[in-house]
């Protein structure tokens, strides 16, 4: 029997038992669809996270102040505001940090903004004008914090788009007065949206900026900085710049061992690598769990093929009596199994892409990415499953004795 006739024969047999064919393909369809959907959604989430980190600005090194102690218990990183103006001045010196081009000190705390009975709980950041370039901020309306604002500790405020929308849903906020605690702030600008992380913990659109001096004098008391954000001159010098920052801070604070330091240095590359590793692991984990369903689907196919062999014993006997070789029978059943998995796999891919589209676009709002790797992999896996789980029933069929098979009732 030639290949064309073989395919035709197998297709015909599958078509005769259409209902059973669909049922046995179902396991593969579900398995492939979930693998594709989960891996693709995972990759979408990963690219979204990467994009969010990159939106913070480029080539950033972040120095976080150390932990506050309550009794003898260390609190979370950044709770002590141990960084101060001396650190900033030392870091600004080109002699200390030749690969750093900008230093942006930040004091941040969450607080409540009130405008005419509307209120918004948000992150309040005291910043200097350089934060605009370091954090890659573009203005939608008005202007950012300026040097004179900082110098004179003016009560001005720049709103993130989310906050602006909450407090001023239908009006232009520029020039309006909002209250934080007992202090009135004039809104001088609204920043452009950077896109939210889809309910993530850190939303760059849901925050406000005030002059750093105003934050110290009017809001939080004369405390140190919570963070100093530095920008390296290029991506290539990130590690070098990071160690320059570390050495400078250790010298300023008079310590010789980094373990004694009351600050923490991390850079964007490290954060990205870490986050990508985490999301990559999760994607793999989810894909792996979905992969198990593929194996279960394969076992389902084997079951149904075995039943099919028993049910078609007479047919096999007849085929052998009139000239089918063992190999003809073997290939026929094997091709049937592979056709089920390939067709099931293709349907699974289409359903998986559809689920990916729905979940990515409407539910968790991450970029819709079709993972071509996942598709190629799943098709290969489904053919392999067809082969592996089809071979035993096919072998069993091919070994049937024609007499026994013809006698079978």
């Amino acid at each position: 029997m030639n290949f064309k006739d073989l395919i035709f024969t197998s297709m015909h047999s599958l078509n005769i038992n259409f209902g059973r064919t669909v049922l046995s393909a179902l396991g593969i369809i579900i398995g492939i669809a979930s693998v594709i959907a989960l891996i693709s959604v995972g990759q979408g989430a990963q690219s979204k996270i990467t994009q969010n980190i990159q939106n913070l600005g480029s080539n950033l090194i972040i120095v976080t102040s150390g932990n506050a102690k309550v009794g003898n218990v260390k609190q979370g990183i950044g709770t002590a505001n141990t960084l101060n103006q001396n650190d900033v001045i030392a870091l600004q010196s080109r002699n200390n940090t030749p690969d750093v081009i900008a230093v942006s000190p930040v004091i941040s705390k969450s607080g409540q903004l009130i405008y005419q009975g509307q209120n918004a709980v948000t992150l309040i950041e005291g910043v200097t004008p350089i934060a605009q370039s370091v954090n890659d901020i573009t203005m939608a309306k008005g202007s950012f914090i300026t040097e004179p604002d900082v110098k004179d500790s003016l009560p001005v405020i720049v709103l993130g788009p989310t906050v602006s929308e909450e407090l001023f849903p239908n009006s232009n906020p520029i020039g309006k007065l909002v209250t934080i605690g007992n202090t009135f702030f004039t809104v001088i600008g609204v920043t452009q949206s950077k896109g939210s992380a889809g309910g993530g913990a850190y939303n760059q659109d849901n925050q406000v900026a005030v002059p750093i001096s105003t934050a110290q004098n009017e809001l939080f008391g004369n405390v140190g900085y919570s963070t100093i954000i530095l920008q390296a001159s290029s991506a290539n010098v990130m590690n070098q710049a990071t160690s320059e920052v570390e050495n400078t801070l250790m010298r300023v604070q008079g310590i010789t061992n980094i373990n004694q330091a009351n600050f923490n240095i991390t850079n964007q590359t490290q954060i990205l690598t870490t986050l990508n590793t985490i999301t990559g692991t999760f994607t793999l984990l989810l894909g792996g769990i979905a992969g198990i369903s593929l194996i279960v689907g394969g076992i389902g196919i084997m079951n149904i093929m075995l039943v099919s062999v028993t049910e078609r014993t007479r047919e096999i006997g007849l085929r052998k009596a009139i000239g089918a070789k063992n190999s003809d029978i073997l290939y026929q059943f094997l091709v049937e199994a592979i056709l089920i998995t390939v067709i099931g796999g293709l349907i699974g891919v289409i359903i998986g892409i559809f689920i990916d589209y729905i979940v990515a676009t409407y539910i968790i709002k991450v970029p819709f990415i079709i993972s071509s790797l996942a598709i190629i992999l799943s098709i290969t896996v489904s053919i392999t499953i067809g082969l592996i789980f089809g071979i035993f029933p096919a072998y069993k069929a091919s070994r049937l004795s024609p007499i026994e098979a013809l006698r079978y009732e």
Binding site: M1, D5, H12, L318, A321, I322, L406
Partner: protein, 229 residues
């Protein structure tokens, strides 16, 4: 054409043996019409299986068309069957939910023949048997008698040395039985060699030579006057 020499078929383990065929010697010439008769358990099915190359004897020699079949490997038997033996079974054994024509060309497909040529050939045979109008019907849409004619057509398509019919009228009514017998008789008149296995005397009498088995022994082998339809 067919020579069986000292054929034994023994089933079961030592000590528990059942001798199904006991030293059968038989030869059938081309163009003969032979009926093999016997009660159930007489060994006629075992003999048919051996003659049809579906099974091998425990001992003995079987020469088919000058070929000693004992040496043929299990693997190659399918091709030999395809070339020499056309089967007609009691239960028709057609592929269900498949068209008549696809059933008829099945042995030719396994032979690797071109499908168009095979179909043309099949249509001619179906026409000869008077069922060409049913060629594209599914086998479950036609009557029992028609199904058996399709099975005969399938055997003829192979152009076999021997048509081996195992109780071919066992599943059809008496009117259809006559039709089937008539077809076999016509085929034999055209020169086809036919061996029919049956337990019914009136069917056996339709042949030209009658062989009777009892308990694995060949007890009767005689030329008879054919009771023609």
């Amino acid at each position: 054409m067919i020579t069986l020499k000292g054929i034994y078929k023994i089933y079961g383990d030592t000590g528990n043996e059942v001798i199904a065929l006991n030293n059968i010697n038989l030869s059938i010439e081309s163009g003969e019409y032979v009926s093999i008769m016997g009660a159930s358990g007489s060994g006629k099915s075992s003999l048919m299986h051996i003659m049809g190359l579906l099974d091998k004897p425990t001992q003995g020699e079987y020469v088919l068309d000058g070929v000693n079949t004992i040496d043929i490997k299990e693997k190659e038997l399918s091709s030999v069957r395809n070339k020499y033996i056309g089967f007609v079974f009691q239960a028709f054994n057609l592929l269900p939910r498949t068209t008549v024509i696809d059933n008829v060309i099945l042995p030719l497909v396994y032979r690797g023949e071109n499908k168009d040529i095979a179909e043309k050939k099949a249509l001619e045979i179906l026409k000869k048997l008077g069922i060409d109008k049913r060629a594209y019907f599914k086998t479950n849409q036609i009557s029992g008698g028609q199904q058996q004619r399709v099975a005969i057509a399938r055997a003829l398509a192979q152009e076999p040395t021997l048509i081996l019919a195992d109780e071919p009228t066992g599943n059809v009514d008496s009117k259809t039985t006559l039709e089937i017998i008539k077809i076999l008789q016509d085929l034999n008149d055209e020169g086809h060699s036919i061996v029919i296995v049956t337990h019914e005397d009136d069917i056996g009498d339709r042949a030209k030579r009658k062989i009777r088995l009892k308990d694995g022994l060949l007890i009767e082998d005689k030329i008879i006057r054919q009771n023609r339809v």
